[in-house]
């Protein structure tokens, strides 16, 4: 599952400070001049009720700027999606995970980020994003994989704090580890993923599939009399090249172009552990 590509704005981290803020305000003013008067009035009223502010502290101390109308609450997780409207300025905003309380209304605003409407300030608890520009460490990981640098890949993958990235990124790392034949690392990442994102179905699946083989049980050996069928195959299989054949007790039960056809052809009587089912391969194919 590929990590979504970076936005046109690049890193996803805002350069903090006055120049960006000034640019935001300038852009807002430009749009305001272009708006119909009525809409401007509504916007002004809304701004007065819940002024937009930036709070770099809410960016998790990573230099990420968050525009919001209140600083109630806290931010967990670090990466935010750049606001697409404010081109040239990396202004993050996020999607609210928790439901807004009934007295207020949380409204993602394409121009300024998150905006709270209503008379009562609404506590904002946690933000998460589905898509984010790819942080540099993930890009470096992709590069290591592309260069088949297993050592660098392993060092990076084990050093990254995956709790600061989404489950998608970790799933991608698992896929890359498998592509590099680094099964133990893929397994370890899947374990980590299950700890950090226990609800993510993809990581649950990765953990299940990459788990070591498990002995389910034993049962007494059955007398299946396969020797006669193996002898039949040795003597006659070449006559059925490209076909699926079913043989039991040294007798051909049937042959077909597909396994499904064969399965239907031999019926319930032919479906037994003593029936050998095999596709007769051309000689060159069977040779690996």
């Amino acid at each position: 599952m590929p990590v979504p590509s970076a936005s046109s704005t690049g890193e996803g981290q805002a350069a903090p400070g006055r120049p960006v803020r000034r640019r935001v305000e300038q852009q807002r003013a430009q749009r305001a001049r272009a708006q119909p008067q009525q809409e401007r009035a509504r916007e002004s009223e809304r701004q007065q009720r819940s002024p937009v502010r930036e709070d770099s502290a809410l960016g998790g101390g990573r230099g990420i700027r968050v525009l919001t109308s209140t600083d109630v609450g806290s931010v967990r997780g670090g990466v935010y999606r750049p606001c697409p409207v404010l081109e040239g300025a990396v202004v993050p905003w996020g999607r609210i995970d928790n439901r807004p309380p009934p007295t207020g209304r949380l409204m993602p605003n394409a121009r300024v980020g998150l905006l709270f409407e209503g008379d009562n300030p609404v506590p904002r608890q946690s933000l998460s994003v589905e898509d984010a520009p790819q942080p540099s460490e993930l890009r470096t990981l992709e590069q290591a994989a592309a260069q088949t640098d297993r050592q660098a890949f392993a060092l990076l993958a084990t050093a990254i704090d995956w709790s600061t990235h989404g489950a998608t990124a970790l799933t991608r790392a698992i896929d890359l580890a498998l592509a590099l034949d680094m099964v133990s690392l893929a397994r370890e990442l899947a374990h980590q993923g299950n700890r950090i994102f226990p609800e993510d179905r993809r990581l649950q699946q990765a953990m299940a599939v990459l788990a070591p083989p498990v002995v389910r049980g034993t049962r007494p050996a059955q007398s299946l009399h396969l020797t006669a069928s193996q002898r039949w195959l040795k003597e006659h299989a070449s006559q059925y090249t490209g076909q699926w054949v079913a043989v039991r007790g040294g007798t051909l039960l049937g042959s077909a172009a597909t396994l499904q056809e064969l399965h239907e052809r031999i019926g319930i009587e032919g479906q037994a552990a003593s029936t050998i089912v095999v596709k007769v391969l051309p000689c060159a194919s069977a040779n690996l």
């Binding site: 599952m1 799933t171 698992i174 896929d175 498998l178 592509a179 034949d181 099964v183 179905r201 993809r202 699946q205 990765a206 299940a208 599939v209 990459l210 788990a211 070591p212 083989p213 498990v214 002995v215 389910r216 049980g217 034993t218 049962r219 007494p220 050996a221 059955q222 299946l224 396969l226 020797t227 069928s229 193996q230 195959l233 040795k234 299989a237 070449s238 090249t241 699926w244 079913a246 597909t258 396994l259 499904q260 399965h263 479906q271 037994a272 552990a273 003593s274 029936t275 050998i276 089912v277 095999v278 596709k279 007769v280 391969l281 051309p282 000689c283 194919s285 069977a286 040779n287 690996l288």
Partner: protein, 153 residues
């Protein structure tokens, strides 16, 4: 009874042994270790291959056994066979190593199911590979008597 049945089975190394075939059906020129695996109600020949990272299953067998992935996301990987790269999904399936003496061993293992283009057929045998199967059992080969011993770790 094979020469080392008592030593290996009674000695606790293995729980069963099977007389393996030296050739995969239709490949009579190459010597292999071909054991029979019981799965989906049938006896299926599979090549024991410690060089294969995963067990590999013909997609038609996987479909018959209901192993074809239906989820939107599947754990995927690429397997190289004879210089050809095959994309495929990794799935979990239970198979039983069929014993001639002693006991069968049922194992839940990871199989690589190749994703083929429409109309394409899988031209290779089935394999029991290292990572998803062999690495977690004990096994031994007596080539003098064509016996494959196996047991849980």
């Amino acid at each position: 009874m094979a020469q080392f049945d008592t030593l290996l089975i009674d000695g606790g190394f293995a729980i069963g042994s099977t007389d393996y075939a030296e050739h995969y059906p239709s490949d009579w020129h190459n010597t292999r270790i071909v054991v029979t695996v019981i799965a989906g109600g049938y006896a299926v020949p599979m090549i024991v291959d410690t060089g294969a990272p995963w067990c590999v299953l013909d997609p038609e067998l996987a479909e018959l056994w209901g192993l074809t992935p239906t989820e939107t996301y599947t754990v995927s990987t690429t397997l190289h066979v004879r210089g050809m790269a095959y994309e495929g999904a990794l799935v979990r399936a239970a198979v039983a190593l069929q014993a001639t003496r002693g006991a069968d061993l049922e194992i839940e293992a990871t199989f690589f199911i190749p994703r083929l283009a429409s109309g394409e057929v899988w031209p290779w045998p089935n394999f029991l590979g290292l990572e998803g199967f062999l690495s977690r059992i004990r096994f031994a080969v007596d080539a003098a008597e064509n016996v494959f011993y196996f047991g849980p770790q």
